[in-house]
Assembly symmetry: C2
Homo-oligomer: 286 residues x 2
């Protein structure tokens, strides 16, 4: 009776719509362009960046992967960002995490033109999201993709109790802002929360983004809850698992995302969607 | 057994420290300067602006009240803000709410240089607050003043359950961000929250900012809770009261702010403190 929220299927629909939008823009002489800057040779990042690149090309976008050595300095990285900030063929700039320790990551986030901030991590964009500012601006792709999935399954957060476990800039904080703006009553829980499981049990919508494999089990859920698992963890056998124990959640959760095949594909699809929007807004002078 | 949180007394200490800081800066040739721009003749705003002006002058600051007619256009207001953005004698620019309907308030917020945004409402500053960004930036004065009061009474939010009722840009949202950054587990409740009173009863720290007189009574409190009342409401007899029924909270709350004499004086004291900080940071080139 637990609905499987099929992120892969929703992502496919999002990608189809993106491909149509790209084609329309190309017809008007604008090819949406994204650059992913990667510093150093983190193997997981390299796989992830290659996937983004392949997807962007498949959808008809202009896609660049700019690989920089591990020894890149702050000044060098800033100057490369400045170059793409004024490059009219690039609408989205993404600097892949993690960055080597000589790089001041907050200053890198600030250096990206907010209009090209395809990750939605620039303070100006985060502040607009928090205050539900009018107009167009990019929103962090993982939480935005989760909102798209909820909508695809007709799960309206309005009036519901939502709990977000994790308070990162990438997921937890923008997720809480989106759910608050969608009229949910939102609690942000985290590593310093006492009795985390009791808090989890209050949730009609539970988003778990902790990086701790199987932190939440079926016993921690309110029966019928919608469970969104942002985790991409490895269990003792090296198998990819989520922050939620999927098996024990069966029959208790009302709906749940699998890992893999839930949040992951939605994040990349939403990144593509955001790139196209940035291209469109830039053409409108917004 | 309920501690009275004496905002007036804490504000007095903050103001004393501010006066010392002003004197130090003046010795170095920098007089902190604030301009309050008021459009139209809202009587409550005029009293409030006069109070700010008097306090700033009393503390030794340069203080301007710029009164504009109700018919001021968006372009006129933008051009006046642009003037103060480059005026080296002004470190803090505050545009008093409410604004007449021909003014687009979000665009006014965006037009103020974030380094002179003494209210802390610019999206860039709000985004930095939400993400606990490193470095200096102004933070909305009402919630920041509340944090100062909590600290003055040795009430540490870490590990506690906090509930903020109200999700405004001025109070609720920055309050929730500050409490999350201080390691509380925070719930933002609002007009769409089901069973608001049950949510209120979970709070170790309850901040009420709804503008609804006596919305919360003693029966809605967890025994021992710290209660911060941001309301400035009028009861049926025209008497100034808070969002919390102070009398019925006695003996149940562990600590409570009165109205008046609680949050109100802290907001003005914190505004003065922020102005001086902006002057100091501008001198440091930050």
């Amino acid at each position: 009776m637990t609905t499987l929220i099929d992120g892969k299927a929703v992502a496919k629909k999002v990608n189809q719509a993106t491909q149509v939008e790209v084609a329309k823009l190309v017809e008007r002489g604008i090819q949406p362009g994204i650059v992913v800057i990667i510093v150093g040779a983190d193997p997981a990042s390299q796989i992830y960046v290659r996937n983004k690149n392949r997807k962007a090309e498949k959808l008809g976008m202009h896609s660049i992967v700019r690989e920089l050595p591990e020894t890149t300095t702050q000044a060098e990285l800033l100057s490369i960002i400045a170059e793409y900030n004024v490059d009219p063929s690039i609408h989205g700039i993404l600097v892949q995490s993690p960055l080597p320790k000589q790089i001041n990551e907050p200053l890198i986030t600030l250096a990206i033109d907010p209009r090209k901030d395809v990750d939605g991590f620039h303070p100006t964009n985060i502040g607009k999201l928090l205050t539900n500012f009018p107009g167009h601006y990019p929103v962090a792709n993982t939480p935005r993709g989760i909102m798209t999935m909820l909508a695809a399954y007709d799960i309206d957060p309005a009036g519901k109790t939502a709990v977000v476990i994790g308070r990162s800039t990438i997921v937890g904080k923008p997720m809480a802002a989106l759910l608050t703006n969608a009229n949910a009553t939102v609690t942000i829980a985290h590593s310093r929360t006492k009795d985390l499981k009791a808090v989890a049990r209050t949730a009609d919508i539970l988003v778990v983004a902790t990086g701790i494999a199987h932190l939440i089990t079926g016993a921690d859920l309110k029966p019928g809850a919608t469970v969104i698992d942002v985790g991409m963890d490895r269990d003792a056998n090296g198998k990819l698992v989520g922050d939620v124990d999927f098996d024990s959640a069966q029959g208790i959760a009302g709906a749940i995302t699998p890992v893999p095949g839930g949040v992951g594909p939605m994040t990349i699809a939403t990144l593509m969607q955001t790139t196209v929007e940035l291209a469109k807004w830039s053409d409108l002078g917004e």
